[in-house]
């Protein structure tokens, strides 16, 4: 892989650019068409609004993720149909997304609306939305005003996708941390008098002490630490080093002063893996850890015998639910933002970032884009947002004398019953359409989960005890208040571009880490250094520069375009 492939890479970039120009040209044509159509549509709509008749119409939607068809008599969709005229025909993905997209793109068979995907963008499957929003969607325009530049496609500067998450309004209530951390069983904190755990060394000391004191839990051997690296769930092994030096989650790179470099082969990475090597020598790491699949990992966590691991919270939520049902609340976990030394400030928790990758986009095949954008705009109105997020007042939630939204236990149970959801919630719209996040103008949270009353109603006595001991309101308080995100942030959302060398290199780096890190961690301590050098040597053979260059190019672009 020398200069030649790089030249080819450049060539394909040029080709891509050329393509995107042609496409934007086409988009332009479409736009003018739709504009003229749009004008007439507005006119008719205006004329119709007097008679307050809504014209029924269908929208076909492709969702690039699995999902379930709502029931035909779903109450929210019925309301949408009655009041706004729209019927949604969903097609959910089941099977491999890449295969499905391959044939969709090849055949140019697109429905009206599709969730965002870089392959579709690259193929010119979406129409630009800037003018549509300007002219027909005041709510959306206001909603995205602060994020406008960030929504633009890095390749041609058009907006194709309406981000579904990461646009915040009003006060953001956060009661639940779903991101990465070193997790530790609550029982350990209690056992040792609620210590403040800051560093990696303190963390492993606690685990070692606890394991020594309790070699078994409920009759099964105690497991000190788990590292999950199964298929695409690889962050348990890969991601910790960047956080330990006080860096937020940037995926495979660390960005210093606007310049990104991979960290897999750096000294601080070595420091971490050497620590794991030592922990393994002490018998703290599960022998099976690199062999297990996700189900086995979850089984161990739900048995309550695992003292700690590095993971993202959402990845093991089901295990915690199981522990709670087993009444083993003390075996659920607290996330700790560990660093190498106490001088480093932790930066695990970040401010929410714009999700550019899977909101709705309108396809080039859509017959009437204006109608679609108007519909999405209408759904952005606060009343509709409340209906979508909370449901119907008196049925799905109540309002107390202070004007706060609350739910009865029955309503809470309904909200988590998948069968009930199919008939009573427009889940797909809630998940993928543009939405208010944070709080409404009346101060209520935009979702039951972040409503503080709802959170406290669900808090167990055991959790109250721990939070009181630390003087915290919720477990989120274990993490430092995040600073404003760097302009470029996060690097993990950078599109490496299909078929580029950067993408190939990324895959190769992952392969190498998957293969060599377990070897190094399991090696005899005396042999750790040689195992590590072998790993570093292998990385040296890969064209890391192509990968870093691509990311840096995009970071520069973002700093350029996104700075206000």
């Amino acid at each position: 892989m020398g200069g030649k492939s790089k030249a080819r890479f450049k060539l394909s970039l040029i080709a891509l650019l050329a393509l995107s120009f042609t496409l934007s040209g086409c988009g332009g044509n479409n736009k003018t068409n739709s504009e003229s159509k749009g004008n007439t549509a507005t006119a008719t709509a205006a004329a119709n609004s007097d008679s307050s008749k809504v014209e029924p119409f269908d929208i076909s939607v492709f969702i690039g993720q699995a999902g379930q068809q709502p029931t035909p008599d779903n109450k929210i969709y019925k309301k949408i149909k009655d009041e706004l005229g729209a019927t949604f025909n969903y097609e959910y993905l089941a099977g491999d997304l890449n295969q499905k997209l391959g044939v969709m793109i090849a055949g140019q068979d697109y429905p009206d609306v599709m969730t965002g995907n870089t392959k579709l963008t690259a193929a010119g499957a979406y129409i630009p939305l800037e003018d549509l929003i300007e002219q027909h969607a005041p709510n959306l325009k206001a909603h995205y005003a602060d994020y406008w530049n960030m929504m633009k496609d890095p390749n041609d500067g058009h907006i194709y996708i309406l981000p579904n998450y990461g646009v915040y309004n009003g006060k953001v209530n956060s009661t639940y941390y779903s991101g990465p951390a070193f997790w530790i069983q609550k029982a350990i904190l209690k056992e040792f008098g609620y210590p403040k755990v800051k560093t990696l060394d303190e963390y492993f000391d606690l685990i070692a002490k606890y394991k020594e004191k309790y070699p078994t839990i409920d009759g099964s051997p105690t497991i000190g630490f788990e590292i999950l690296n199964n298929d695409w769930r690889n962050w348990g092994l890969f991601n910790a080093p960047q956080h330990l030096i006080g860096h937020p989650n940037d995926g495979g790179v660390v960005v210093k002063d606007g310049v990104a470099e991979i960290f897999a082969d750096k000294d601080y990475a070595k420091q971490y893996y050497q620590k794991l090597n030592e922990a393994n020598e002490l018998g703290l790491i599960d022998k099976e850890t690199f062999v297990q699949n996700y189900d086995q990992y979850m089984a161990k966590l739900s048995s309550g015998t695992v003292l700690g691991m590095f993971d993202q919270h959402w990845n093991f939520g089901a295990a915690e639910d199981s522990l709670k049902t087993q009444k083993k609340d003390e075996r659920t976990y607290v996330g700790l933002p560990l660093v190498f030394d106490t001088n480093t400030k932790d930066y695990y928790r970040d401010l929410p970032v714009l999700n550019l990758n899977n909101g709705f986009g309108i396809s080039v095949n859509a017959k009437d884009p204006v109608k679609i954008i108007k519909l999405l705009d209408a759904l952005m109105a606060e009343d509709w947002q409340k209906t979508l997020a909370w449901g119907i007042q008196g049925e799905d939630y109540e309002v107390n004398e202070k004007g706060r939204f609350i739910r009865t236990q029955e309503q809470r149970d309904n909200a988590v019953d998948s069968t009930w959801i199919l008939a009573n919630k427009a889940k797909t719209i809630v998940d993928f359409a543009p939405k208010l996040e944070g709080s409404y103008s009346d101060g209520n949270s935009t979702g039951a989960d972040s409503q503080i009353e709802e959170y406290q109603a669900g808090l167990k006595p055991y959790d109250k005890e721990i939070l009181d001991a630390y003087g915290f309101n919720s477990y989120v308080d274990f993490f430092s208040e995040p600073p404003a995100n760097p302009v470029y942030y996060p690097a993990w959302s950078i599109d490496l571009v299909e078929g580029s060398e950067a993408k190939v290199v990324n895959t190769k780096l992952n392969d190498l880490s998957t293969k060599f890190l377990p070897k190094a961690i399991l090696a005899e301590p005396a042999e750790f250094d040689s195992a590590w050098s072998e790993y570093v040597a292998q990385i040296g053979k890969v064209n890391v520069k192509a990968y870093e260059d691509k990311i840096n190019e995009q970071i520069k672009w973002r700093i350029d375009k996104w700075s206000k």
Binding site: S60, F62, Q65, A66, G67, Q68, Q69, T71, P72, E91, Y92, L93, A94, G95, Q99, K100, G102, V103, A106, G107, D109, P111, Y165, N173, S174, T175, Y176, S178, D295, M298, A299, S302, S303, Q312, W314, N315, G317, A318, A319, E320, D321, S322, T325, P352, N355, N358, A415, V416, D417, S418, T419, L422, E437, S445, G447, A448, D449, S450, Y455, G458
Partner: protein, 319 residues
Amino acid sequence: MGTEQVSPQKTAGIVMKKRIGSNGIEPVLFNTFNTIFMIILVTVTLYPFLNTIAVSLNAGNDTIRGGIYLWPRQWTMQNYKAVFASGTIYDAFWISVARTVISTLLNIFLTTMLAYTLSRKEYVFRKSITVIFVLTMYFSAGLIPGYFLIKQLHLLNTFWVYVIPSMLSAFNMIVIRTYIGTLPESLIESAKIDGAGDFKIFMRIIFPLCKPVLATIALFVAVGAWNSWFDAFLYTSSKQELSTLQYELMKLLSSTMNSNSNPNVAAGIGMKENSALSLVTPISIRAAVTIVASVPILCVYPFLQKYFVVGLNVGSVKE
């Protein structure tokens, strides 16, 4: 063709009821060994299925702990309720039945007909047609060209896309041809002397004689048609009323997996709601889905099985 083996005069693989030579302890030993072996085999192969049933009847929230073997720990019908909750699988079931029946009948007829012609040594195109068919087993043009073909034939979003592209299989054809090769040539020769044409010979003589192998092929085709979801995924996914049972179950399973572990969905603030779905977890839904999907086809099995396990009694084959 059929050069080596001893061709049977009659195609009657009836079970031999006679006890074989009472020469001492050997038969007893053999039978004991054989029975023990079969018991082990049955245990080992029955286990995964029983385990799947047990998991499907166990609370998802509990299954996640592992350790479910042959008996559920916390009985529940929750998983099956979740499978049957969406009304779509009932229509999909009938689509699946229709495609399976039509595919099987068409396949059996066409494949056997072709196999018969290619078993005729005097047929001038025998070799070339055989080669052309056999090679199809070893290449595939790929997803995208295949999709273009289906699109150009206007088969997208039609029922026939389930049937037409898979009406014939080279593998099955070869299996049947090999079988026909073991039938006595004299049967065909005498029919020819009586003035029967090839089509008549095929319909009257070959077809009925092929029952054991046709039962096998019917099983292969039926199971294949019943289990396939890829064509629904590629070609009819935007038309709900054409969805098949397997595809509906596949969708259900993927959505359960998705809602349990989706970084994008979970990235929203305060995302606790999703995890509550873990009343039904992917492991338990997968188990229930497997049982629901395989029971109908397993019910068909005994009817086909008798032809190849017990052997058939065609009576007088020789005219």
